[in-house]
């Protein structure tokens, strides 16, 4: 009985040491804010770039299509951490110094662009051919048909897979810790090693939950909202 209580105290002391938590809370908040804006920037630029690439690919010029396919396949095949390290440690060799923040931002933006380009493309291809024909038969051009008729339907179809992929990639901001980006995980592990106590890591985990649970719930809502019946 006594031994149990001691174990429990030890558990509390190493994971929920309030004094340690209080000390490192400001750092974790800093990390939280940094993760937030890094993730938001990545999501916006990744999705916009993915959409642009999908639209360019819809025109089916062989050269641009080929380049986009190569880009999408490489970025989807490569572990993002490898690409971050390549940018961070490799580019200075050619005289380009990228901060850890920039290397993470560029990598995850390109990864999200690659995945979302493929998802948007699947949505474009899944839109019935008759929609193109109806639009073109009224004199709308290819670009107009794509913009007003095809993309609105394609985007609606792709919202659920896109939401899932976006969340997965936004969480990868934690990889930035390896190249010294002061995001949540980085602050938490720093706190952990200075204090010799796991409590900052618990705080870090809580910070991730506070950030991503609303996003996951939002994703679920979007999924039901956009699961609309086709005619």
């Amino acid at each position: 009985m006594n031994a149990d209580i001691t174990q429990w105290d030890r558990f509390l002391a190493s994971f929920f040491d309030l004094a340690v938590m209080q000390k490192y809370l400001p750092d974790i908040v800093d990390g939280f804010l940094l993760t937030c804006h890094l993730a938001i920037l990545i999501v916006i630029s990744g999705l916009v770039l993915g959409l642009i690439l999908a639209v360019i690919r819809a025109y089916e010029f062989w050269l641009t299509s080929w380049l986009i396919v190569v880009f999408a396949d490489v970025m989807r095949a490569l572990p993002p951490l490898v690409f971050i390290l390549l940018l961070y440690f490799g580019l200075p060799g050619v005289g380009l110094n990228l901060s850890g923040y920039a290397a993470t931002y560029v990598t995850l933006t390109l990864v999200l662009a690659a995945f979302s380009e493929e998802i948007f493309r699947a949505g474009i291809l899944a839109t019935p051919k008759g929609q193109w024909e109806a639009a073109r038969s009224t004199g709308l051009g290819f670009g107009q048909s794509l913009a007003y008729v095809i993309m609105p339907q394609a985007i609606r179809m792709t919202v659920p897979p896109l939401t899932n992929r976006t969340i997965a990639i936004a969480k990868n901001t934690a990889l930035g810790t390896v190249v010294g980006v002061g995001e949540i995980l980085n602050q938490a592990t720093t706190g952990q090693s200075f204090s010799g106590n796991a409590s900052p890591l618990v705080l870090g985990a809580l910070a991730y939950l506070i950030l991503f649970i609303p996003v996951v719930v939002f994703g679920r809502w979007v999924e039901t909202r956009f699961a609309w019946r086709r005619t």
Binding site: R136, S137, L140, Y148, R230
Partner: protein, 246 residues
């Protein structure tokens, strides 16, 4: 009825790979004429229609519409398509737009009309097909017959010189066919030029100026409905008509 055809298909050929679907088709449609195309499934009726507004590129021959060879590379096909309406078997309404949105889209983006004017013209077109009270409904809130009438309104709103119909009633429940045929009858009365692929024989007998029978990529026989249905000259026509005309 004027004598120069508004649509003149000359020696039209079309192949998909090795499969020759149109083997030299000649067909002239005069202004205000209603021409019916009948024929077995796979005989090339849809392909012929789709070559008339270049939804399919042909491999030979010419399609002269209103004096312009629309198969010529230099032809501005988007400009031609404003003048040729098309109605599809499966309606192909835009599911993310209301009925009036469907009709107004090309008015705004092709004819560049301001939004208010486009909507006004869209409602007038919907009124013409008896759907002024459904302007704000989305396609999935409409019956098949209503959807097809919205699709007809979408074609009419651009004030085309001719409308192509590809089996406009084939996807409809029998009780909804009448409402679509009624709209087509009104169009005929108003003098619209129409090229119609359909097997609605009663409607053809009553409204068509001419019936064209297609088989295996050829026009086998054409003539007034009473002749093609009542006294077909060619054995293949006779065979086909005897199987459907009941």
């Amino acid at each position: 009825m004027s004598d120069t055809p508004i649509l003149d298909v000359q020696g039209l050929r079309k192949s998909y790979g090795k499969l020759e679907v149109l083997k030299g088709v000649d067909l002239a449609v005069r202004e205000r004429e209603l021409v019916f195309i009948i024929g077995p499934s796979g005989s090339g009726k849809s392909t012929l229609l789709r070559c008339c507004n270049r939804l399919e590129e042909s491999n030979g021959g010419a399609v002269i519409f209103d004096g312009t060879d629309i198969t010529a590379k230099s032809t501005n096909i988007n400009a031609v398509r404003q003048k040729i309406g098309m109605v599809f078997q499966s309606f192909n309404l835009y599911p993310h737009m209301s009925a009036e949105g469907n009709v107004a889209l090309a008015l705004r983006k092709v004819l560049k009309r301001p939004k208010a004017e486009a909507l006004e013209r869209a409602r007038a077109a919907l009124d013409r097909v008896g759907l002024s009270d459904k302007a704000e409904n989305y396609p999935n809130q409409l019956s098949g017959g209503q959807q097809q009438r919205v699709a007809i309104a979408r074609a009419l709103a651009l004030e085309p010189k001719m409308v192509l119909f590809d089996e406009p009633t084939s996807a409809l429940d029998p009780e909804l066919v009448g409402s679509v045929l009624e709209v087509m009858r009104d169009l005929r009365t108003a003098g619209m030029t129409m090229l119609v692929v359909s097997h609605e024989m009663r409607f053809a007998r009553e409204a068509a100026d001419r019936v064209v029978f297609m088989d295996e990529g050829h026009i086998v026989e054409e003539g007034p409905p009473e002749q093609v249905f009542g006294d077909p000259q060619m054995p293949r026509t006779r065979d086909f008509v005897s199987r459907i005309d009941h």
